[in-house]
């Protein structure tokens, strides 16, 4: 399909728009809004059992808190399985097989700037031991993607913008805290431009560089396991078998009002893909090389398909946790050649 000769129309008012515009000149609609894994807007929750049981009077109500009014079962939300595709990047998030809800969240965005296209992603994993972790991860990604998108559009320093986004996301999670405790979440973001990848993170959600030859993990976990590895106590495989391995040492949440995030700028040596994921994936395949074997080279041309494949792999391996996978092929696929 070629759309290179036609000028894109505003989805709201139909007026033609210019490449690089963030908003429609005619009606002000945001032309390339961020996508967040809140679930499909037309999703209607229904009990998977009682809504198809002929012996139960229909319709069966779902309580405001998301339970079946008849059998009490937690009704699937629109967040259980979400696929987002913006062309330049794509992501899939899934509840997994063992958790009752999806506490992971992701947000994707693209921006056209004078210096070229940019792909932006945020992935977050709600901390299960905190209250309302699903709200925490969603609030973190929503706040993060907004700041990142503004920063990229304004041509700000990308490392600074990434740290800003964490500060704003952290403040939003502080506001979520109440007498019941502090909802908390991990955070990893990536801004991929024509030249470089800017990664920023807190906790144990990861970013990888996947390529034919020299794949590598870009992030270092804020976790007890990583601390044991860093201090030379244990090697990575041994550290992950320690019961407290997954306990994270930094996160977004009111109990750390101003978390110190890590930021890193990586210049890809050649073609490859940036992978952001939660531990629901990397628990089953921690090594960059192993991930690259499964993802490459298909991720260069089909990020959505490969993200789906990686989620499927984690589900088949046990699906013990929520799984989120985002892939950004590099160099950015120019929309003109789509």
């Amino acid at each position: 399909m070629s759309t290179s000769e036609t000028v894109a129309a505003c989805p709201s008012c139909g007026q033609p728009t210019e490449s690089g515009d963030a908003f429609c000149e005619a009606c002000g609609t945001e032309l390339a809004p961020a996508l967040v894994s809140t679930g499909a807007p037309d999703f209607t929750p229904a009990c998977p059992v009682c809504s198809v049981d002929p012996s139960v009077p229909q319709p069966v109500a779902v309580t405001p808190d998301g339970y079946c009014e008849n059998c009490g079962r937690k009704v699937p939300t629109g967040r259980d399985h979400v696929e987002l595709d913006l062309g330049l990047l794509a992501g899939v998030t899934d509840r997994g097989s063992r958790h009752s809800r999806n506490e992971d969240a992701m947000a994707l965005a693209t921006a056209e700037t004078p210096s070229g296209s940019a792909a932006i992603a945020v992935v977050s994993d709600g901390v299960s031991s905190s209250p309302r972790p699903d709200e925490a991860s969603l609030a973190g990604t929503q706040a993060g993607i907004r700041v990142l998108l503004d920063g990229v559009r304004s041509g700000d320093d990308l490392a600074e913008t990434s740290l800003d986004a964490v500060r704003v996301a952290a403040a939003d999670l502080v506001a979520l805290a109440g007498p019941g405790g502090a909802p908390s979440a991990t955070y990893v973001s990536a801004i991929v431009t024509a030249e470089a990848v800017t990664v920023c993170w807190l906790g144990d959600s990861r970013a990888y560089w996947l390529a034919a030859g020299d794949s590598q993990r870009l992030t270092t976990d804020d976790s007890l396991a990583q601390e044991m590895v860093s201090s030379g106590l244990l090697d990575e495989a041994a550290a992950m078998t320690v019961p407290q391995a997954h306990v994270i040492t930094r996160w977004l949440g009111a109990d750390i009002p101003e978390p110190e995030a890590h930021v890193l700028t990586f210049t890809p040596p050649g073609p490859g893909a940036v992978l952001l994921c939660t531990d629901g994936l990397w628990n089953y395949l921690p090594e960059a090389g192993g991930l690259a074997e499964r993802a490459m080279p298909a991720a260069l041309t089909d990020p959505l398909g490969v993200a789906g494949e990686l989620v499927k792999f984690a589900l088949e391996a046990g699906g013990m946790d929520n799984i989120t996978v985002v892939l950004v092929p590099f160099p950015l696929r120019s929309q003109i050649h789509e």
Binding site: V56, Y67, C71, G72, K74, S100, R101, S129, G181
Partner: protein
């Protein structure tokens, strides 16, 4: 604190092993400190003081005199505008003030008249507590109050009617008024009076020495005058095919509400909690059996709402969710919630004391020693010092931790009855910080 002035907090371990069915939760209900935050009953409170005037109240003579002073002390505490009456009871019952069987409205003048009438109370005749309760019922029904409360004083066993007659009278009063019961001396029956106080959502206690009556009546009436919200219920919704094992108040004392359910919908029932004062906090233990779902599934095992009922309908004051999540992570599913475990122990302790004392009365020393010993161990482990002290007056404690005890040879009746009446008192534990 929510807008209604009440909060409902749930404390539980929501994780169940594969196939697990039993869901336990501690529900903490707290009313706002400031009385302005609470909804106010639109009619004033009504109080009836019921006094035993049986012949034994004259043995010793100070008993009747102390009862008269105690009634006067309680009348002095009545707030202006409160509807009230004084009832006398023997094998029959009659209104002492107002003498026409209605209620008076408290003022300086009526308080003085009532005290004068009470000063003429004389001891003569038998004991039929059911008659007294029916008399109170008839008087309460002459006045449209929402907060209805009675104080009942007796010194003897219910000898002049059958247990069935008393039970029927109690049933007649259920839901109409609450009743705090006091036994003076040691010739009355704890189990008998506890039937009245439990059904009528009140307390029962012993006043061994008549000299203590006035202070106790003053305290009871002050407590009653503090109540502000009447007829509050716990409404428990459960999923289709779930079964409620029990609903108990567990703090400040154990009251089993399971049998008090009123069905309010196909999957919901109300359990009465009585009246609430500002700044009160009580804990309830709810246990539900559910149909297990698969590992990774979540279910709402119960929705516990606090509901205030009045003539104009019912209002939900607060609500909490009891959840069930099935997991194959044994570390999660085997963890006992500290407060559920604590209150399970406190309820068991109350039962052991009552059963142990009964066995002791029957001369079954072996059972009595075993039960009271186990109660000593539970009291010690949970830090319930008041109950531990009361137990130590009935048994010699060799080792509290293991519950090794010996029955005391001589036990004062008053000590045994104090242990019995206060066996249901619990100590609270705070919610663990998440």
């Amino acid at each position: 604190m929510s807008e209604s002035g009440f909060t409902v907090d749930i404390d539980q371990n929501q994780y169940l092993p594969e196939g697990g069915r039993t869901v336990d939760a501690v529900v903490t209900v707290t009313s706002a400190d400031s009385d302005t935050a609470l909804p106010v009953s639109d009619t004033p409170a009504a109080e009836i003081i019921i006094v035993d005037c049986s012949g034994s109240m004259d043995v010793p003579q100070t008993k009747m005199a102390s009862a008269r002073s105690a009634v006067a002390a309680a009348i002095d505490v009545l707030h202006d505008g409160t509807a009230f009456a004084v009832v006398a009871g023997t094998s029959q019952s009659w209104p002492v003030y107002p003498s026409n069987g209605t209620m008076a409205i408290a003022s300086d003048a009526t308080r003085a008249e009532a005290k004068r009438a009470a000063s003429s109370l004389r001891a003569t005749g038998g004991t039929a507590i059911g008659q007294w309760l029916r008399q109170a019922c008839a008087i309460f029904e002459t006045y449209p109050a929402q907060l209805r409360h009675a104080i009942l004083l007796t010194d003897g066993k219910n000898q002049h009617e059958t247990a069935e007659q008393l039970a029927a009278a109690i049933h007649r009063c259920e839901g109409l008024f609450s009743c705090d019961c006091r036994g003076v001396g040691t010739d009355w029956e704890v189990a008998e009076l506890r039937k009245v106080s439990t059904a009528l959502l009140g307390t029962v206690d012993i006043i061994p020495d008549p000299a203590g009556l006035a202070a106790d009546f003053t305290a009871m009436m002050e407590n009653a005058m503090g109540k502000q919200v009447a007829d509050v219920s716990l409404r428990v919704w459960t999923p289709q095919s779930a079964v409620i094992q029990f609903v108990k108040q567990v703090a400040p004392e154990v009251v089993d509400l399971t049998g008090r359910r009123t069905q309010t919908g196909p999957q919901a029932g109300d359990y009465p909690t009585g009246a609430w004062a500002p700044g009160e906090s009580r804990d309830y233990h709810v246990c539900v059996m559910v149909n297990p779902a698969g590992v990774g599934q979540e279910m709402l095992a119960a929705r516990v709402s606090l509901v205030a009922s009045s003539a104009s309908g019912s209002e939900v004051l607060g609500q909490g969710l009891v959840r069930a999540v099935w997991t194959d992570n044994a570390e999660l599913s085997t963890k006992l919630n500290a407060r559920v475990a604590h209150y399970t122990g406190q309820a068991e302790m109350a039962g052991l004391i009552q059963d142990g004392l009964e066995a002791r009365k029957q001369g079954d020393e072996e059972t009595a020693t075993a039960k009271l010993g186990r109660a000593v161990a539970l009291a010690s482990k949970s830090g319930n010092e008041d109950t531990a002290k009361l137990l130590a007056k009935v048994v010699d404690v060799m080792d509290a931790a293991t519950g090794t005890v010996r029955l005391k040879k001589a036990v004062a009746d008053a000590d045994e009855m104090a242990l019995d009446t206060r066996s249901t008192k619990t100590v609270r534990v705070r919610k663990e910080q998440a």
